[in-house]
Subunit: 198 residues, 4 copies
């Protein structure tokens, strides 16, 4: 169990071979999601469930749906849900965007991995998103950021993009050697003005 605030160390999650949103990216995503205790949140492409677990901890009166098509990943989410003792996290095994219309309308949506289906997923999210809603996503390719921002701005969303280059020092003898993480784009989008803009 983790008794502290957002930003659970990566090493505390059961991981397998499924890619995971790293701690530093995760806390930035959580910040950009503009969470409140009672919200309904979708985590599309939930992977290990690391983001979903953190959201569930921050929305104790709400509900998180971790949507994931890969069976092995769903097992990991199950185990991480157990490990961190969160009750308000429901695992939805299935493929986005098809599965999305069967779920309660979300206040917040995080898209951790959309593969080739960014457009169709965002289209469905746009239809389902509640008033005042916020969408956040991470992307590692120019193409994904570009496709997402074009669509969202066409639909009247305000889009903010941050490019993060992070390096973590590893101790080598008496020295600190920096090991780079791959650059990640984090974008967030909303339609109604909440004074979110940084």
């Amino acid at each position: 169990m983790w008794e502290f605030g957002p930003g659970i160390p990566d090493t505390l999650f059961v991981r397998g071979k499924v890619p995971m949103t790293k701690e530093e990216i995760r806390v930035l995503v959580l910040a950009r999601l503009r969470l409140r205790p009672e919200l309904v949140v979708w985590d599309i492409g939930a992977g290990t469930g690391s983001v979903a677990v953190e959201i569930a901890r921050m929305c104790p009166g709400g509900k998180v749906f971790a949507i994931e098509k890969d069976e092995e990943a769903c097992q990991l989410i199950h185990r991480n849900r157990e490990r961190f003792g969160v009750k308000n996290l429901e695992i939805v095994t299935g493929e986005a965007p098809q599965i999305l219309s069967t779920l309660p309308a979300p206040d917040r949506v995080f898209v951790g991995g959309s593969g080739e289906r960014t457009g169709p997923i965002l289209r469905e999210v746009k239809v389902c998103l509640r008033e005042g809603g916020v969408i956040v996503a991470t992307a590692v390719t120019i193409e994904t950021v570009h496709a997402a921002s074009i669509l969202l701005e066409r639909w009247g969303f305000t889009v903010e993009v941050v490019l993060l280059n992070l390096a973590v020092a590893r101790k080598e003898g008496r020295k600190h050697l920096f090991v780079a993480r791959n650059p990640v784009y984090i974008w967030s989008a909303w339609r109604e003005n909440h004074g979110f803009s940084g």
Copy 2:
């Protein structure tokens, strides 16, 4: 008032000309501080109070001491405390390290700006820090990170350092132009093993 989680947008703070820890850095600092509701926290060189305000919101049963020598900055902290309606934030006008020994022993310490006094401040922090304590700092110079890590490791602390290069997209016509923020080192240190290590 801000009704969401950690990561208050920079634009919502009263700022003046005092340097401010930017939103993205702030959420990473908050994560690394490993906060719990009831902790006593020092923010040394509190500037506008942006970090202190966020800590106070995350430690509603605890107390935050914002230590700041500059009178104008203290006024800003005062106004930001009002603006976000936090009650558990005490402004301490005075110079570190001298003023530190007059304060209740901290569970967490954030050093936002230490100037030329990194060594003396860390020495005093080490003496006062409660068991299980964590120190986090941001630094923009190699010299500060180096001096801090040498001292802390000599004293038996585990030190983690992250180097953050962040760029924020600004809309120019129909395009997104990235504007870089200066690179920041965020280091955190602790003596007892809490499984913090990422």
Copy 3:
């Protein structure tokens, strides 16, 4: 006059208010251009002429055309050509892509600034480029990189993209403070295989 190799310090150029490709970006661009002494090179959107001057120095038996629509910038190119004593640099006042068809076919093309005309410019460059030719460009927006790579790959070019985040230390008292330059994408493209690929 500069008696050393590629990488003339920014401060040695006459600059005015025209944006300039900075030294560190410039040397990477020069490397990616795969220059040889006798080549014909176009610098489209030449700005201060800093890249064109360096190319001219590296292609003493060739010819560089600095294409620039802004009159004030053309004056700067003129002065920088004088300052560095290069003879094989011709200033072409006019707008790309229209002006391009009037020029000798190039072996190398550098696109420093294409504004909203990336597509039309690349289309004309593709028509004019000699066999074995190489195109290099810098871009500061996702949209430009994306548009360029889509077109070029459709036309059978191999495209390489590098993302550069650079910070330069400034001495502040006895410390080194890093000041970030905005992130820049450098892409290069070619059709025939020269073993260029890094």
Copy 4:
């Protein structure tokens, strides 16, 4: 053979398991070395010889000494010297700083890897360096940059440091995925004013 300018692609060098200064770093190092055709240059910790080969090509009337203690690396330098047909590159098998005093005084020195011996190596370099000389080094740890800049500034050198975060796009299906290289500090130092400062 490579018929183009500085910036030989990494893949063209014989590499083995010896670490290599990557192309993009190499061209920045070459620029900062402020090379002229007739100079004497030391490459200390020459590794695969990639930097030494490029320097030799840029100083056809000068001489490059590639100093390397590792026998296997010396073999690689030998093979890379052959491959690129450079004549003015001498391989010196031995350990710095001891071996340095046996070599002709240098106009330029590149320190690619100094391990734990940064101080002693720089001390010897300072003694041997000719008037108007320039030292350039790459470093991946804070400690090395810090130690070097303290010493050099104490000795009256002007020191410039650049921090480079580079990511290279890899094609994944139809998308460009950026893969980060570890952050590298490049510093350069000189005593006499040549107008080098950027």
